[in-house]
């Protein structure tokens, strides 16, 4: 519904903009250009340049000290495709993503519904759900490291048993997932809450008059109206989850977890670059990772466009 409305408006807006742009282009750059220059300079220095440099290094055997570097062509890429640890760590990152994304989306939606409909102490609910997101990753991870402590932690105290959360390969990643849910659900929760508040009340009133019960209103009004925001939450979560690193590393005391079970792709890149000193190889695998993430992002855009065209 809303998507098709937007696509109808968008082209006309674009046409107006294009007409005005020819007149304003020169003048516009003079003013706007200077405003964005500080950002562009930093962006070029800290994003574009490292990216290009990393691309170049991925074809070399550069080490951490930066001297005695020679060109090795595609050797690094060939080695990466044969490296079981590349695939294992990629699998770990994918497994994490697979667990986190659906959980966080559903949880954020439920919490938003709760905060939206509860009348008393609204601010308190919002604060509670959002506050963990404001913590630095190290703080969140350390907190959960304590909670998951097998002997003295609260989790085993409350649920009983002596589950080795952080030291058994079948639980370790789950522990990281639980920490991540608690820590980051607030962001998606806020997106959902804003979207819920943006649904016009008259839709619900009209439905009520037509005799729709709460369930019908949810399925036929709330969920469809939240479709866009769900797409956004999913996309952001997938991209963020694939890049999981800090909380896993801190929870496992900077080791790759029991039997390497929480070694994420980013962590493996770091290990190769800064423990093994193989900067060239680390660059190559981070370029591979970059391509994978870009492919996921592009696939999402492509799916979205197809859906919009189908809906028109």
């Amino acid at each position: 519904m809303t998507t098709s409305a937007q696509t109808v408006i968008a082209p006309s807006r674009a046409r107006t903009a294009a007409a005005g742009a020819t007149v304003r282009r020169k003048q516009g750059f003079q003013h706007g250009g200077w405003f964005v220059a500080p950002f562009l300079a930093l962006f070029a220095l800290f994003v574009i340049w490292p990216l290009l440099r990393g691309f170049y290094l991925s074809f070399t055997d550069a080490n951490i000290s930066g001297d005695a570097t020679s060109f090795v062509g595609l050797d690094n890429y060939r080695e990466a495709l044969d490296d079981p640890l590349v695939w294992e760590s990629l699998g770990n990152s994918a497994y994490f993503t697979l667990l986190v994304v659906p959980c966080i989306t559903v949880l954020a939606f439920l919490l938003a519904m709760l905060a939206h409909h509860i009348e008393r102490g609204k601010w308190l609910w919002r604060l509670c759900f959002f506050a963990p997101f404001l913590l630095p990753s190290t703080v969140a991870a350390n907190l959960w490291q304590w909670l998951f402590n097998p002997g003295t932690g609260m989790i085993n105290f409350v649920f009983g048993g002596e589950t080795p959360w952080l030291t058994d390969k079948s639980y370790a990643m789950l522990a990281v997932v639980v920490c991540t849910l608690w820590w980051t659900v607030g962001f998606s929760f806020l997106l959902y809450l804003a979207a819920l508040q943006g649904i016009p009340a008259h839709l619900y009133e009209a439905a009520k008059l037509d005799g729709a019960n709460a369930w019908h209103r949810m399925v036929h009004i709330t969920l469809p109206m939240l479709r866009n925001i769900t797409g956004l939450v999913l996309a952001l979560q997938i991209l963020a989850s694939l890049q999981v690193f800090d909380q896993a590393v801190v929870m496992m005391d900077f080791l790759p977890g029991p039997e390497g079970s929480t070694r994420t792709f980013v962590q493996y890149t770091l290990e190769e670059g800064f423990t093994s000193y193989r900067v060239g190889y680390a660059s190559a695998i981070s370029i591979i990772f970059f391509v994978i993430i870009a492919a996921v992002a592009l696939a999402r855009m492509w799916l979205l466009r197809n859906r919009e065209e189908g809906g028109r």
């Binding site: 951490i64 000290s65 030291t167 800064f274 093994s276």
Partner: protein, 461 residues
């Protein structure tokens, strides 16, 4: 501003009261600033020292405290040398910074490294050799060190590291619990163990005397570093080897490795080590009354602080021969294109001084590498340090190849395999074979620092 005021006040002949007071105030401020700078060694000029030695280390916590105390003692004894020390984060970040600084010719005059990592740190290019004569001038000679330890510091016939200590894996035991179990000798020390069966008998008796809810032994069963260190110790007890002398062939013995892995695994299967307390929880359990924990000697201050009755021996020689895992903190000279002169001599003097005055260092549990220290009455009085000092003569170390060393690639690749066997997700014999194939891969791998394999790196011994 303060020195400027001071200059004005003192330079003017017609000194009135107001200027005098201002001058006096300025002097006090300048004086206190100078004093503060002297205390931290922040600025050679402020302290009036002629030579400045920049020194990077990775010691924090109790070790950091002891190191600073030793530096302060050096400063007091040598006011003409200003030591500017920087403590950087332990582990990979430290080595990364050291390598980049050495390559970029911004290296400090003196640094600290784990001895096992020296071979892989491109000695000759990123590290400068020690001047043995200069060291001798300040009282440090090869004869004062364990020969095996000294050999590890020599690459291609040249000394690249000056060992400060060795730090070893120990078997900590609770005297109160062992006494109850009848496992404490008349000398107040744990009964001697010389075979696998004896060791498990000891565990069996100890378990009976252990409070409910506590495991019998903590052994970091899920930690890839500790499990690897324990493996190295017991594999060495069995006389196992890693590579041939030329580093061209893997001589790793899978039968012996299987024996060790089965031994480690049995602690879990027989119920002495609880995977639920696999990590740092092992030390907590020990403090709460668990009879045994295998830990690094750096846990000595922790258990001292917990005020428990305990002792510590090297890992038990269950395979008949004494050997426990040892790594070593050593001083190195990071590469400087123009190394030499007073700062270089100062670095030699500082390192030699600290190596010879490591009594305080021993409080952190480490065994001083400078052997004359070990026979002093003061050291002999230290407990449990004097109980495990024999570990100096029975060091089990990683092979001397570029990929070895504390938290290096070798531990990172092979450690998880040991863990998988100990925790039961892989059969010991399969894990041993997998270790061997990993060693084969590593031997074929090129050192990123110089593009050479271990074999091409030449005779490092």
């Amino acid at each position: 501003m303060a020195p400027e005021q001071m200059g004005q006040g003192m330079g003017r002949p017609g000194l009135d009261r107001r200027h005098f007071l201002a001058g006096l105030g300025g002097l006090t401020v300048a004086g206190s600033l100078g004093f503060a700078a002297l205390g931290t060694g922040a600025d050679a000029l402020a302290s009036g020292a002629d030579t400045r030695v920049r020194y990077w280390n990775l010691f924090s916590g109790g070790d950091g405290y002891n190191m600073i105390a030793m530096l302060d003692a050096f400063r007091a004894a040598n006011p003409d040398i200003d030591v500017k020390d920087s403590t950087l984060q332990w582990g990979s970040p430290f080595y990364t910074k050291l390598a980049m600084a050495a390559a970029g010719n911004r290296a400090p005059d003196l640094g600290v490294m784990h001895l096992g990592r020296v071979t892989g740190f491109s000695p000759g290019r990123l590290l400068d050799p020690w001047d043995v004569d200069l060291l001798a001038k300040y009282g440090v000679r090869q004869a004062d060190f364990n020969p095996e330890l000294w050999k590890r510091a020599v690459v291609d016939g040249t000394l690249y590291a000056l060992p400060l200590d060795i730090h070893v894996q120990l078997c900590f035991y609770r005297k109160d619990v062992l006494k109850k179990a009848g496992l404490l000798g008349d000398d107040g020390k744990m009964v001697a163990v010389t075979s696998v069966d004896e060791w498990f008998d000891v565990l069996k008796e100890a378990k009976k005397a252990t409070k409910k809810g506590l495991q019998t032994i903590g052994m970091w069963s899920s930690d890839q570093n500790f499990q690897w260190w324990f493996f190295v110790a017991f594999y060495t007890q069995l006389g196992g080897t890693w590579f041939d002398d030329a580093d061209t062939e893997v001589t790793f013995d899978t039968d012996k490795a299987t024996q060790v892995l089965e031994f480690l695994r049995r602690h879990v299967t027989d119920g002495y080590s609880d995977p639920g307390f696999a990590g740092g929880a092992g030390a907590e359990q020990f403090v709460n009354g668990g009879p045994f924990v295998w830990e690094g000697n750096w846990s000595v201050p922790v258990f001292d602080g917990a005020k428990i009755e305990y002792g510590a021996t090297p890992l038990p020689p269950v395979f008949g021969k004494q050997a426990t895992h040892a790594e070593s903190h050593s001083f190195v000279l990071p590469h400087q294109a123009d190394r030499g002169g007073a700062a270089n001599e100062g670095a030699h003097q500082l390192a030699a001084y600290i190596v010879q005055h490591a009594q305080q260092w021993a409080a952190g549990g480490h065994i001083p590498a400078y052997t004359p220290t070990l026979t002093t009455a003061a050291y002999q009085k230290m407990n449990p340090q004097s109980e495990y000092v024999s570990a100096m003569d029975h060091q089990a170390t990683e092979p001397k190849v570029w990929f070895a060393g504390s938290t290096g690639i070798l531990a990172q690749r092979v450690g998880p395999i040991v863990v998988s066997a100990t925790l039961g997700s892989a059969e010991p014999d399969a894990a041993a074979r997998s270790m061997k194939s990993t060693l084969t891969e590593l031997l074929a791998m090129k050192n990123p620092m110089d593009g050479k394999t271990a074999a091409q790196g030449g005779a490092v011994a």
